[in-house]
Every structure is written in structure tokens, then in C-alpha cells.
């Protein structure tokens, strides 16, 4: 039997042809983003103006924060569907603790903390229920998401409480050096997430557990602990996103996260993080978020009829997902 396996003595791992192919597949999403951006730059005079680029960055900030949280959970091979409910609750907790038109609390920065920790709490509950009771993450987070909306509705009390603390509103509404403050917040979240992913146990073990859980278990890793921590990260990110959205809109609202869950998951998958876990990362998610935001922004600038915008977006996403999964399709795989 002949083979083309390389010699053990060599340090080059795989032949050039395969390497180029692998690089293209891995860089696929980035290439897609560049192509889209290029297309819109040509098709619309306003797309690549500094003003619009700044807006693009703003528009992807909140989505990216959510996507980052989701990435940690998806890397495990799990999913977190509670994002919208968590954002709703955390936005309301945040606004009701800060200076607002409903009560006399004025906790300022601690209100931010309260909002973010609300997210962490939801994440903790998600993780514990999933790990301790063995309920699939799909179901746990779906239920907790509904709880989040419910809690938010009770807090909402019929009308949206308005955030009156200007110091906090500046985060969502103000600019620094011509770029929205939200972008800086999102950048900070990305940096922290990257450090977690590269340099901490939570991050690295996430890859291990997602890549091959039985091996992880045999190696004596406390899988439960790291799963719970990943859910806490996701919940915290949703909490941050809820606070960000509240500063941007000036209210706490139960619908503040509306539609973001599906968009964020799409962004994560588009960026190259596999739903089965073990592959991907927050930088990939950034690219996926970029694709979606550029697409939405570009379609409006180009003047595509609102009636068909959603159809076009859906089509692009389907194509992108097929393209990224192309190499995997041959083996007899169970697709659920």
C-alpha cells in the first residue's frame, strides 16, 4: 500500500496544496466580507465615507457583544437562546437603578453593574440547570429566555422607564474622536474575550470540551465547571449588550433585544464557528458580525426595496453557510 504521508523527520506538516485549500476555507468569511464591502463601495457613493463607516461600527457593536458571548457557548457545542430575554431584563434593571423617570434611584455606575450582573445571573442559572439537571441547553435557555421576558414585563409595568442620567446616556449617544462610544465598549469586550479565549482555562478548555468531550473527561477536567462558566460569560455579554442598548435608546424595554438572537447566531456561524463546537472563536465572530452589518447597511444604501431586503439577506446567509460547510458534506454525517 503506497501512501503520501510525510516523513516524521520533516517539520512541514501538510503539503502546500492542502495548506492553500485549508487557508482559503478558513479565510472564507473574511474574503466574503471583503467582497461584500468592495461591492457596496462600488455600488454606493456613501458606503465607504467616514460617516458611514463610523455608523457601521456603531451598528455592529451591540450585535458583536452578543455574538461574543454566544461564541463561548457555541464552542462547547451548546447553544444559548436566552439572549433577548436577558437583554430585556438587564436593560430594565439597569434603567430602574439609574436616574430614571419612574423612581428615585440614582446609582449611576452601579446601575450598570446591576444590569450586567443580571445577565451573569441568568447565565449562571442557565449553566447550572443544563449541567446539574442534564437538560439540553436548547431547552434550558429557551425557557430562561422566556423568564427573562417575563421578568422584564413585570419591571416594565406598562410603559418604558426612561434613562435620565446624562453621564450614562453619553455612552450610547455620544462620540469620542468621531466614533460612537459604543464602539469602544464593544472593542473592550472583544479584547477581554480574546484574552479569555487565548489565555484562560475557560477559553482553552472550551475548545477541548467542544472538540472531544470524552477525552476531556478522561483527562480529569472538571467539565461541569467550565460549561457553567461559559454560560455565565454568555449571560454577562447579553447583560452588557442590554445596558448598551438602553443607553442608546434611552429606555429600558422588553423588546430591546428583538430579533437579535437569530441574527447573532447567524453571525457566529457565518464567521466560521461550528455549531457542533470545537472550532472558531471571537475573532471569527467579529467577521461574521461584520458581514451581516455590512449587508444590512449596504442594501439600504443601494436602495434595495424594503420588501425584498430580508429575502436577499436570507439568501446570502444560506449561500455562505453552504459554502463554509462544503468540505464537510461528503462523509455520512447525521445532520440534525
Amino acid at each position: 500500500m503506497t501512501s503520501t504521508a510525510p516523513k516524521l523527520g520533516e517539520s512541514v506538516r501538510i503539503d502546500r496544496g492542502t495548506r492553500i485549500k485549508k487557508f482559503l476555507v478558513g479565510a472564507g468569511p473574511l474574503l466574503a466580507l471583503i467582497v461584500l464591502a468592495g461591492f457596496f463601495t462600488i455600488a454606493s457613493p456613501t458606503f465607504s465615507t467616514p460617516g458611514n463607516l463610523s455608523i457601521l461600527l456603531t451598528q455592529l457593536s451591540i450585535l458583536m457583544v452578543i455574538g461574543i458571548g454566544l461564541t463561548f457557548v457555541i464552542l462547547l457545542g451548546s447553544i444559548d437562546l436566552s439572549v433577548e430575554g436577558v437583554m430585556a431584563s438587564s436593560s430594565l434593571v439597569f434603567v430602574l437603578f439609574a436616574t430614571n423617570d419612574r423612581n428615585d434611584f440614582e446609582f449611576g455606575i452601579f446601575a450598570v453593574l446591576a444590569g450586567v450582573l443580571t445577565g451573569s445571573l441568568f447565565g449562571l442559572i442557565n449553566g447550572l440547570l443544563h449541567v446539574r439537571l442534564g437538560i439540553p441547553s436548547f431547552m434550558v435557555t429557551l425557557g430562561m429566555g422566556a423568564v427573562g421576558i417575563g421578568v422584564a414585563t413585570v419591571l416594565f409595568g406598562g410603559r418604558a422607564p426612561r434613562l435620565l442620567d446624562d453621564g450614562l446616556r453619553v455612552w450610547g449617544v455620544g462620540n469620542t474622536a468621531g466614533i460612537s462610544n459604543l464602539v469602544f465598549i464593544a472593542a473592550a469586550v472583544l479584547a477581554i474575550a480574546f484574552i479569555i479565549q487565548r489565555f484562560t482555562r475557560v477559553g482553552r478548555y472550551g475548545y477541548v470540551i467542544g472538540g472531544d468531550e470524552p477525552i476531556a473527561k478522561l483527562s480529569g477536567i472538571n467539565i461541569r465547571k467550565y460549561k457553567v462558566l461559559s454560560f455565565v460569560l454568555s449571560g454577562t455579554a447579553a447583560g452588557v449588550a442590554g445596558v448598551m442598548a438602553a443607553t442608546q435608546l434611552g429606555v429600558g424595554d422588553t423588546t430591546i433585544g428583538g430579533g437579535l438572537l437569530f441574527t447573532a447566531i447567524t453571525a457566529v456561524v457565518l464567521g466560521g464557528t461550528l455549531l457542533v463546537g470545537g472550532r472558531g472563536g471571537v475573532v471569527q465572530t467579529l467577521i461574521g458580525v461584520g458581514i451581516i452589518t455590512v449587508l444590512a447597511n449596504g442594501l439600504i444604501l443601494v436602495g434595495v426595496d424594503p420588501y425584498i431586503q430580508q429575502a436577499v439577506q436570507g439568501l446570502v446567509i444560506v449561500i455562505a453557510v453552504i459554502a463554509s460547510g462544503w468540505s464537510l458534506r461528503r462523509r455520512v454525517r447525521v445532520i440534525k
Binding site: G51, I55, T153, R159, L249, T255, I300, L301, P306
Partner: protein, 369 residues
């Protein structure tokens, strides 16, 4: 400034809602069939035996919150509890909630805002099968009317978005001194309200030669979507935008935030619809550029609509004797501007609405044709 009811009323409403939702949920769990035990065609219930039900999209927007408050005022006036169904914009959920009402065996009077026009027929048929009485508002198919189905579909109330759309658009154009470009942010493109209001805008534009419609997008009634869309449109059209038209206040408020982020609030007039409390505050405040909204008086919708259904259910009104114009009619809308905003800032008292509860047709602007 509070528009919704007193603290105790809020608490009662919450408990009622919770209890109602729990009841409905358990009823739904036990039997989702539309078994009609309550009675057949034309059977009415005695006063005090008819269940009062409100069907709205969600309690977390002020519009429907006010609607429900109006319904509860009516309930208070006859000493009855009101069940509230909220479907969270899910048509399937709305229909199954309504079907579940049949499980109690009681005759019920339902005042409902169907999620989309496509849902109306299923809803009224379900109510008819169960022997209940329903008043629908806002969404129904153009070619389907209450008299096509029977007496159990008492009436359909709508508001001529074309009329209010045109009026409020003109208010916008006035604030722009008749010159400049506008962007229009629409609601869910399939909704009757969205389509009619946009048609009103189009009509107003026909008569305003100095105004140009630069762009129109949809934000699906959502505040955050409207913010994003407005941001992009600001980038696209820049200084050319001299006015913003939105099909409801939630979206107009989102657009306002986009202006704030760009440092443009106060320089560009905005109009919306629904007269939600925050919009009214902005109108009264006068500094943000928000100059007008339209009120259909959600309290009236919730209260008078329910009253109409109830009166039919108890036989006080004989549905078979109503004219077509009484079974499908337009209610009254008022354009709210800084001049009259004071009238709308508080919830009305029971006394103020009692006359309308007694005669739900008092505010009819004529039949829907």
C-alpha cells in the same frame, strides 16, 4: 408623568393578568379543542354571566397597556373582571389563546386586535363556533365583513390611517415650511395600519410640491430597528433630510435617538402615530423636534370596543338589527400637537368615558367601505 392607573390598580391588573394567564394556560393545556359547550348561534348570556376578554399584542407597549386600562375601566363600571390575553405578536398563539376560551363553557365578550389581517377570519370563526361575541379592531381582510360570518362577529372598528396619515403629514410639512426632503419609516409592511398611513403620506405628498420623499424603509414597528435604519439613512442622504415621518411613535422615538447620536435632535421635525406617553412628553417639551402624533384613544378602543361586544353578548344590542355601517366603522382620530397635548397626558376617568361605554357608536366616523 403617569398615564397608567394607580398603584393599586396596577397591582390588581398584574395579579389579574397573572391569574388569567395561568388559567388560560391550564385551560389550554387540558383541552385545545374548540369544543363549543357554551351555546349555539344567537344565544346570549345573562348579565353577570358573560366573561370579558381583551386580546392585545403585548402589555409591554404603552399603547396596548392603555387599551387594557380602558377595558378595565369598563369592567369596573359593570363590576366585572377582565381577562387579558397577550400574544407577543405570535398569530398562532393568539388563535390558540382565543380557542382556549371555549373551554370554560361560559359565553364571552372579546375585544381583540388581530395580529395581522390574515388572522381575523380564523379568530372570528373560532369565536362563532364557541358561541362568543367578538369585536375586532384594526386588521381584517378587505373582502371579509362581520355580516358575512354572522351575528357573533359584532363589529369591526378601524381607523382610517389615510385620513390621519394625511393630516399628520401635513403637520410635518408645515413645520418644514413646505420645503425639503423627508424619509419615511414604515411599520410591518403587511399591516393595514402601516399601509393606510403610508397611503395618507403619499396623498399629502401629492399636494406638497416642495417636499421630496428621499427614501422609505421599514423598521417593523420596532424602536431599535428604527434607530439603526435612521442612522443608515442619515449617512445616505445627509443634509438633504429635513423631516422624518414614522408610522408609529415607537419608531419615531428610535429615529429621534439616532438624531441625538448624530447631534441633530431639535433641528429636524419628526411625527409619529399612537400618542404614547413618551411621545406626548416630547411634544409637550417642544425641544426635540417631535411635533405631532395621532391618537385613536387607546382607552376608548379598549373600553368601548369591549362594551360593544358585551352589549351584544347580553342581548342589550340585537346584532341582526345593526346596519352595515354600524358593524364596520371608522373611529375618531385626533392629531396631537403642542396645542392640544395637554388633553392627552392623563388617563381619562370613568366618568369621562361612561357616555362612550353606553353608546359605543358615538365616535363613529362612518362606515368602512
Amino acid at each position: 408623568m403617569r398615564i397608567s392607573g394607580t398603584g393599586r390598580q396596577q397591582m390588581r391588573r398584574r395579579l389579574t393578568t397573572a391569574a388569567a394567564l395561568f388559567t388560560v394556560a391550564s385551560i389550554a393545556l387540558v383541552g385545545c379543542s374548540s369544543a363549543s359547550e357554551g351555546g349555539g348561534e344567537g344565544v346570549t348570556g345573562a348579565e353577570g354571566e358573560v366573561q370579558l376578554v381583551e386580546g392585545v399584542r403585548s402589555l409591554s407597549n404603552s399603547y396596548h397597556a392603555n387599551w387594557v386600562a380602558g377595558g378595565e375601566l369598563f369592567g369596573e363600571s359593570i363590576g366585572e373582571e377582565v381577562i387579558v390575553l397577550s400574544d407577543e405578536a405570535d398569530s398562532q398563539k393568539q388563535l390558540s389563546q382565543i380557542k382556549a376560551l371555549a373551554g370554560s363553557g361560559q359565553i364571552y365578550a372579546l375585544n381583540v386586535d388581530p395580529n395581522t389581517s390574515a388572522d381575523t377570519e380564523a379568530i372570528v370563526r373560532a369565536v362563532t363556533d364557541a358561541g362568543g361575541y367578538v369585536v375586532t379592531q384594526w386588521n381584517k381582510p378587505d373582502d371579509l365583513n362581520p355580516w358575512d360570518i354572522g351575528d357573533h362577529w359584532v363589529a369591526h372598528i378601524s381607523f382610517d390611517g389615510r385620513v390621519s396619515g394625511e393630516e399628520v403629514s401635513n403637520a410635518l410639512f408645515d413645520a418644514m415650511d413646505g420645503e425639503g426632503g423627508i424619509i419615511a419609516i414604515q411599520g410591518i409592511l403587511d399591516n393595514v395600519a402601516s399601509k393606510q398611513r403610508y397611503e395618507g403620506l403619499t396623498n399629502a405628498l401629492a399636494g406638497a410640491s416642495g417636499i421630496e420623499l428621499l427614501d422609505t424603509q421599514t423598521a417593523n414597528w420596532s424602536r431599535s430597528e428604527a434607530l439603526t435604519v435612521t442612522q443608515t439613512l442619515l449617512a445616505k442622504h445627509g443634509d438633504a433630510i429635513k423631516g422624518i415621518w414614522a408610522a408609529n411613535d415607537e419608531m419615531a422615538l428610535g429615529a429621534l435617538e439616532a438624531l441625538k447620536a448624530a447631534g441633530l435632535d431639535g433641528t429636524i421635525p419628526i411625527v409619529g402615530f399612537d400618542a404614547v406617553p413618551q411621545a406626548l412628553d416630547e411634544i409637550q417639551g417642544g425641544t426635540s423636534g417631535y411635533i405631532a402624533s395621532v391618537s385613536s384613544d387607546a382607552f376608548w378602543q379598549g373600553g368601548a370596543g369591549l362594551s360593544l361586544a358585551y352589549q351584544a353578548a347580553t342581548g342589550q344590542i340585537d346584532v341582526s338589527e345593526l346596519s352595515n355601517d354600524e358593524r364596520a366603522f371608522y373611529g375618531t382620530q385626533i392629531v396631537v400637537t403642542a396645542d392640544n397635548v395637554g388633553d392627552f397626558l392623563e388617563a381619562p376617568s370613568l366618568e369621562a368615558l361612561q357616555a362612550d361605554f353606553d353608546d359605543p357608536f358615538a365616535r363613529s366616523q362612518g362606515g368602512i367601505n
